[in-house]
């Protein structure tokens, strides 16, 4: 006899697949979007460190690049922590869809 759907669920709702949260694209929650302004960036990596997700992209040379908008929820912590250059922020928050 074939099993009913609910009989096939893993016991205790344990997720047996490692790294499966990558499938959950939380970027859809975002209402504010961080914008990176490269000329104001001093590559301090504060944004990378403070990001509660892993949405600050870093290249092979260890330099900061753009954002991963699939997962960035738009919390704005990176923009708040960004020291910028000579008083100009390298990350600013913009309203999504504008």
């Amino acid at each position: 006899m074939s099993k009913k759907f609910w009989e096939t669920l893993p016991q205790g709702s344990v997720v047996l697949e490692a790294g499966s949260s990558a499938k959950f694209k939380t970027g859809t929650w975002r209402s504010m979007r961080p914008k990176w302004i490269e000329e104001n960036c001093i590559q301090c990596m504060f944004c990378w460190m403070y990001c509660p997700d892993m949405s600050v992209k870093v290249n092979a040379e260890g330099k900061r690049e753009g954002f991963d908008y699939d997962y960035c929820k738009g919390c704005g912590i990176c923009a708040l922590e960004c020291p910028g250059k000579k008083g100009n922020k390298a990350i600013v928050m913009e309203e999504e869809g504008k």
Binding site: E7, L9, P10, Q11, G12, L16, G19
Partner: protein
């Protein structure tokens, strides 16, 4: 052959835990369960067990630590009472929903307010819907035996559900009784080696516990959790049969005492069953066909088996050592649920007794049996729910 000792219920349960030697115990003291874990902590300090004893700052933390340790892949136990169990409330559901086979002696005690430290079933009944297995014990011997069996039941690979082993606070936990201990090697062999299912510490197979399950799957997980409970009675009986082979002591889903040919019956759990049996013997000598049914497994509740055991009875009194204010007592509701499926429905009355450790006296059992005789003769039931042993 084990040894025969004179011990309290708490002492016997602490000794069972020593023999079982769990990997982790996280506990917080609360009367009347304090003494159980205090004795066990002595075994830890003296190196008689190699359990990691985690002394936490509350029962909420105790159950949380137990959940973590069980998810990590350990055999885990704790003990509590009353307010302690109440403080564990949200974690009880998490332990059961996550299917972690934690074992917990629950030394039944009344709930505040007013503040009271003595025995009744208010705490256990409050946790009846948490998804834990609940087994109630009449005396210290049963508490010890049930505790040994509960590890096998909870950890059974078809079940993996946490289990509470209940005994009446002070009446059993602090009274010295004759108890037969099983040999250490036999307990060890009976309980067996712990088999972890999806342990977090298996680093080769990374996994996550406690995901967010919303409207698309929650209903299905709960359906699956109910299904597991339907398998528990079979496992409880299987474990009891093996236990009987080892000790000669027989356990079922409930105990029937002189019930086979009874016309009237009392349903009562835990220590009050002992007193009731004595009074039943006295009435039997007078020719009154009265019997007793003592539920052992309250969760899952064995509805069909109990209906079968009570089918020939004309009148039933269900004695609850807990109340549901504005409702019937919790045990009465379950028995009424069992009776619902019967063709011939007996008359039923509900007596609330012994709250906050009020003594259950032989006269109260007599009073109930006299009322049952009258109901059986006249077919007339007065008040369905009443308090007995209350000062008027």
């Amino acid at each position: 052959m084990g040894k025969i000792v004179a011990v309290t219920g708490n002492e016997a349960c602490a000794y069972a835990l020593k023999q079982i030697n769990p990997d982790v115990c996280a506990a917080y003291p609360i009367t009347p369960a304090t003494d159980l874990m205090q004795r066990f902590s002595g075994y830890v300090s003296n190196g008689q067990v190699d359990t990691e004893l985690v002394l936490v700052e509350s029962e909420h933390s105790a159950m949380s630590a137990c959940i973590g340790a069980a998810a990590a892949g350990g055999r885990v136990a704790t003990a509590t009472s009353s307010q302690g169990l109440a403080l564990m409330w949200e974690m009880l559901y998490i332990a059961a929903g996550t299917r972690l086979p934690i074992v917990m002696p629950l030394v039944n005690r009344a709930l505040s307010a007013p503040l009271n430290i003595h025995g009744d079933h208010s705490d256990g009944m409050g946790a009846r819907d948490t998804g834990w297995i609940q087994i109630y014990s009449e005396n210290a011997q049963e508490a010890y035996d049930n505790l040994v069996q509960s590890f096998r039941i909870a950890e059974h690979l078809e079940i993996r559900v946490p289990a509470m082993v209940c005994m009446d606070g002070f009446i059993v936990s602090h009274s010295i009784e004759r108890v037969e201990y099983i040999d250490d090697a036999d307990v060890k062999n009976f309980v067996g080696k712990f088999q972890a299912v999806h342990p977090l510490l298996d680093l080769e197979h990374p996994k996550s516990y406690g995901p967010l399950i919303l409207t698309d799957l929650y209903h299905e997980y709960k359906r699956a959790q109910h299904e597991v409970m339907t398998k528990v009675p079979g496992v409880v009986l299987e474990v009891a049969a093996e236990f009987e082979k080892m000790t000669g002591r027989k356990y079922g889903l409930f105990e029937e005492y002189r019930l086979e040919d009874a016309e009237i019956a009392i349903v009562v759990m835990s220590s009050a069953a002992g007193t009731t049996k004595d009074i039943i013997d006295q009435y039997r000598e007078k020719g009154v066909k009265v019997g007793l049914l003592k539920p052992r497994m309250f969760r899952p509740f064995p509805f069909t088996q109990i209906a079968e055991a009570l089918k020939h009875v004309n009148a039933i009194a269900v004695l609850d050592r807990a109340d549901s204010f504005g409702g019937y007592g919790p045990l009465f509701s379950e028995i009424a649920g069992a009776v619902m499926s019967m063709d011939h429905k007996p008359a039923m009355i509900n007596k609330i007794f012994g709250l906050g450790g009020r003594d259950y006296l032989p006269e109260q059992a007599e009073q109930v049996i006299n009322e049952l005789i009258k109901i059986s003769e006249t077919g007339k039931v007065g008040a369905i729910k009443e308090y007995i042993g209350v000062r008027e």
